[in-house]
């Protein structure tokens, strides 16, 4: 039915395309096919990348570039001006450094737990179990939930009169106001992020495990390898390329975390769970005046990190697909 709708439209495009084909020849027609995509990339990806530099080196709260004044490296100097990088309070942009610290801790914990738990879950799902499809779905479905929904689900569980506190009191413990304690709020931010994304990495690792041929395991059995040695000497090394991909992917996504944590804690209490993207968002868009310069400068630093990480990821995938 949908096809019947699109079909006349596509035939309509055929006429001008035939004209272009006669005019330019088949090979140069490739550019016509590329054009819409390249226009969108150019306008909404490349132009912004270039403009980002322009914003990073200019000041004032004006959005139009010609109204902005050149300030040189001032934005960077301020961002990086710290007496002690380990103590955000000694920095000029203390909130930026707090968000950097938070993000660093967040990544270490989130990626660590995520990769560990995904591996464990993938190994469990790879065993001879009943209803594997069902259990795979159980671990996977939160991946599809929107970040705001994830945040609200856990907010409701963790609220002062929530079910978790009820459970604590039922076993004789005291209830906790989770969201007002900076450490707990941070812990639950990491927790819900792992909860939401774990299924995705589990799926990739499970596919990696299932790609290991069965008869290699059988050969190991015949070679009298005990299960622990089979895991260490066969499973782990053969899973390593997949593990690396998962690790880098998790890092790339980890540094960009914003949605679910922002909707969950709003960055609080105080700035205990403010991550880098939230800093950029609040500096550039939510506050008054809108400090586009520092926001762009911070974006640039983050982009640099992402370029390196994505480069590593592409290198790994290429190497493992060639190998």
């Amino acid at each position: 039915m949908l096809l019947r709708l699109i079909s006349p439209l596509m035939n309509l495009i055929d006429l001008p395309m035939q004209f272009l084909q006669r005019r330019f020849g088949i090979t140069r027609l490739a550019w016509v096919f590329l054009l819409p995509n390249l226009l969108l990339f150019g306008t909404f990806a490349f132009l912004p990348i270039l403009l980002n530099f322009a914003y990073a080196f200019t000041g004032t709260d004006k959005i139009l570039l010609m109204e902005r004044s050149f300030v040189g490296t001032e934005n960077f100097v301020q961002l990086l001006d710290c007496d002690n990088y380990l103590d955000p309070n000694t920095c000029v942009r203390d909130l930026f450094w707090r968000s950097v610290h938070n993000t660093a801790w967040f990544i270490v914990l989130q990626v660590g737990f995520m990769v560990g738990l995904s591996l464990l879950t993938a190994l469990v799902l790879n065993r001879k179990i009943r209803a594997r499809g069902f259990f795979r779905a159980v671990f996977f479905f939160p991946v599809l939930l929107s970040p705001v929904v994830v945040a609200l689900i856990w907010k409701w569980v963790l609220q002062r009169n929530g079910i978790l506190n009820a459970g604590l009191e039922a076993v004789g413990l005291e209830s906790v106001v989770w969201m007002l304690d900076r450490h707990w709020a941070f812990f639950w931010s990491v927790f819900l992020s792992v909860w939401a994304h774990m299924g995705f990495y589990t799926l990739i690792l499970l596919a990696g495990l299932q790609a290991i041929p069965r008869d290699v395991y059988e050969a190991a059995v015949m070679d009298a390898a005990n299960p622990w040695r089979t895991f260490r000497r066969i499973t782990l090394p053969l899973l390593m390329p997949t593990m690396l991909v998962v690790l880098v992917l998790a890092l790339i996504k980890g540094v960009q975390t914003f949605d679910e944590v922002y909707a969950f804690s709003g960055g609080g209490p105080g700035s205990a769970t403010t991550l880098i993207i939230q800093y950029i968002y609040e500096t550039g868009f939510a506050g008054a005046p809108r400090l586009f310069g520092p926001a762009a400068a911070a974006s640039l630093l983050l982009a640099l990190l992402l370029v390196v990480l994505t480069g590593v990821q592409l290198w790994i995938t290429r190497r493992s697909s060639n190998g």
Partner: protein, 350 residues
């Protein structure tokens, strides 16, 4: 050590359940509890009245106090069972509460007001779904508008993404032309720098196009995805070039080859990209948060987020709205579970 190892590999004790199997199923049951539990709790809670939501410790099922409409009273009166004093065991309707006493009437004699102690009565309750939580969403809040905004953005953006990305992938997989390597490098470049790190200039560009605070301002900037180009190109490379040559011998134009031959043959990859795009768009948060400012343009995600700020005490509406937001995803997932999983695993995400 051996047994711990056995847990980590495929093999299993023969016949009877090994203790590692118990461990496995224990883990899986814990998994169900942790992954499903909170969602189920949310759904149950969304059917509770505000009074019940405030209750601590909470009860699992949604209870509501029973009421009765009596002559001479405007509103339905809440029912109580008396636990002490003269009326012990009787069910009465409460007219008013003053300090430590409550004025009640017998339902069969609404004229005769009796005073009892507050501590000597418990509410008469039964399980009832507070569907008014949901009704309110449609009546008091503009739920349908947000739903429509989200749907519109999702469908239109996905359609544009599919068309634009498949055209580019076709050119990059089936034509040998100078500059192809450069274009591929550009695509990788875009992959490296996601939207979230060019927010400021993207904001400016969108503003210059006059698309700020409109649905198009959400749709267009992300319409061409590098992931989509990669995914489709990879698939189209597996289609033999002889098919194109055969079509050319049949005098098919290049556009016809694209849309009558390449597109249908790439259907599996296109389906995967469609599912991914729908998911990204429906759940998108950061860019809409920046690009949309008037609340009538809000997507469901934005509305949900702003409601949780405005109505932090009114959980009943918030929970119902959360459930409605996750419902489409749950439905799609239930039907396409296997397909989504393989699709997402094959691309390695965004």
């Amino acid at each position: 050590m051996g047994s711990a190892g056995r847990f980590l590999t495929r093999t299993r004790g023969r016949g009877r359940l090994h203790w590692t199997d118990w461990l496995t199923y224990g883990y899986l049951v814990l998994g169900i509890f942790l992954m499903f539990g909170p969602v189920i709790w949310l759904v149950f809670s969304s059917f509770k009245t505000d009074a019940e939501l405030d209750r601590f410790p909470p009860r699992f099922l949604p209870y509501a106090q029973q009421t009765v409409s009596l002559d001479g009273y405007d509103k339905p009166l809440p029912l109580f069972r008396v636990t002490g004093g003269d009326l012990e065991g009787e069910v009465v309707a409460q007219v008013r509460r003053i300090g430590l006493t409550a004025q009640v009437v017998r339902p069969d004699a609404p004229g005769e007001v009796i005073k009892i102690a507050r501590g000597e009565r418990v509410p008469v309750e039964r399980v009832r779904l507070a569907t008014e939580n949901y009704r309110d969403l449609f009546e008091r809040f503009d739920f349908m508008r947000y739903f429509w905004n989200s749907t519109f953005i999702t469908l239109v953006a996905t359609a544009i993404t599919l068309l634009v990305n498949s055209m580019a992938a076709f050119a990059l997989s089936k034509y040998q032309f100078r500059g192809r390597a450069v274009v591929m490098a550009l695509v990788i470049g875009v992959l490296m720098v996601p939207q979230s790190v060019v927010l400021v200039p993207l904001f400016m560009v969108t503003r210059e196009f006059g698309m700020l605070d409109s649905l198009w301002g959400v749709i267009i900037p992300g319409a061409a995805t590098p992931t989509g180009v990669f995914l489709l190109r990879q698939y189209m490379l597996t289609i033999p070039d002889e098919i194109l040559d055969a079509a050319r011998m049949d005098k098919a134009s290049e556009w016809k080859i694209f849309w009558r031959i390449i597109l249908p043959l790439s259907a599996p990859a296109i389906a995967v990209l469609a599912i991914l795009s729908i998911m990204w768009r429906w759940n998108d948060f950061l860019w809409p948060l920046i690009a949309l400012s008037r609340s009538e343009n809000y997507t469901l995600q934005l509305a949900l987020n702003s409601f949780q700020g405005e109505m932090h005490t009114q959980w009943s509406s918030l929970l119902a709205m959360t459930v409605l937001t996750l419902l489409p995803v749950a439905l799609v997932f239930a039907f396409l579970q296997k397909y989504i999983a393989t699709g997402i695993a094959s691309t390695g995400g965004k």
